[in-house]
Amino acid sequence: MAVPPNTKPIPILKLPFIPLNYIIQHFYPLTLLDFSLLSKKCRHIIKSTNLVKYDMGLSFQPDEYLIRFQRKDTLKFFFSINILRERNKYLQTEMRPYSNNGNEVSIEFAKFWVNYVCDLFRTKFNLLFLDSNASIDQMSAYLILNTNMKLLQLILAF
């Protein structure tokens, strides 16, 4: 698309709710996440918009797609560990994505971001992706995330 004649900011938050809502519904999920990190008002706007109509999953599989959004068996989009780690700074957290031995995804990191994303999209996760050598902590992740969990489906990769 042609470059607009100037780059004056778009005061999107001054729009009435309907156009604002309509614009936001066109945002890519990662843009939604980034938008929510800008301010409390932005976060509330995303929360007030019914956006995510997919199943949400927590994954400890090697692909590092920590939070996955699926429809049936199809992955629609994901927030990888890297994506989330880069955004730690907006929530003023230095939570490390890996446990002390460096190989395993930190349950605390997963919990922090799952809680944030569940709250943001007003959804609960119902899929847990594990691989064959998942740790006890990972297998019991649902216990610490039970407030943001609905009927859980366990998906194992071998």
């Binding site: 698309m1 042609a2 470059v3 607009p4 004649p5 100037n6 780059t7 004056k8 900011p9 778009i10 005061p11 999107i12 938050l13 001054k14 729009l15 009435p16 309907i18 156009p19 309509y22 614009i23 936001i24 519904q25 066109h26 945002f27 890519y28 999920p29 843009t31 939604l32 980034d34 938008f35 990190l37 800008l38 301010s39 409390k40 008002k41 932005c42 955004r87 907006y90 929530l91 003023q92 957290t93 922090f112 809680n115 944030y116």
Partner: protein, 190 residues
């Protein structure tokens, strides 16, 4: 999408006059007003589509003459397009627009913002949807900091709800630029 334009000559009976907020009058073909749900409903309520009814000018207090001209350009271009049907809205990573639309909306952000408000007020779904998609396309693929700049959003979070740790307010962005945009233009002098 393109539609062939039949050659018809508008007659005085099938026009209405609308008056912009700055007092300028525009003669609008009734066929064009069908694209605006607000105007179409008004015309139907006042029976302005009948030839024996006196048509008073319609004041549009929220729309300036510049915006009205732009809207008429849109209405004329889409005059013979089929009625707009809203599909399910889906997020997108890429947006495509007709060349004409790209040129039409290659305008400064503040003008586009005002045009969106006008499209919302007049309820012109095709224009409204197109501008919303264009605005979304200007954000998609940008980082949080770039979005902050493009949308001029400053942090309002003092203590993060998740961590409880104070967050520094972003002093680099300011909402001063917004004051230049008039959401409700002043009414025409009486």
């Amino acid at each position: 999408m393109s539609c062939e334009e039949p050659t018809t000559s508008p007659t005085p009976e099938n026009n209405i006059t609308v008056v912009s907020s700055d007092g300028k009058e525009f003669l609008l073909d009734l066929k064009l007003t069908e694209q605006s749900e607000t105007l179409a409903r008004l015309i139907s309520n006042f029976e302005y589509d009948r030839t024996d009814v006196k048509k008073d000018p319609v004041p549009l207090g929220n729309i300036t003459s510049a915006q009205m001209q732009k809207i008429i350009e849109w209405l004329q271009h889409h005059r013979y397009y089929p009625k707009w049907e809203q599909n399910d809205i889906h997020y997108s990573t890429s947006f495509t627009f007709e060349t004409w639309v790209e040129e039409y909306l290659n305008i400064p952000n503040n003008e586009m913002f005002e045009l969106l408000n006008a499209a919302n007020y007049l309820n012109i779904p095709r224009l409204f949807s197109t501008i919303c998609r264009i605005m979304a396309s200007r954000i998609t693929g940008k980082s949080a900091e770039q979005i902050r700049t493009v949308l001029n959003i400053k942090t309002d979070v003092k203590n993060d709800v998740y961590t409880g740790i104070p967050i520094q307010e972003d002093s680099s962005s300011s909402e001063d630029g917004m004051s230049e945009i008039s959401l409700s233009p002043s009414p025409p002098p009486i």
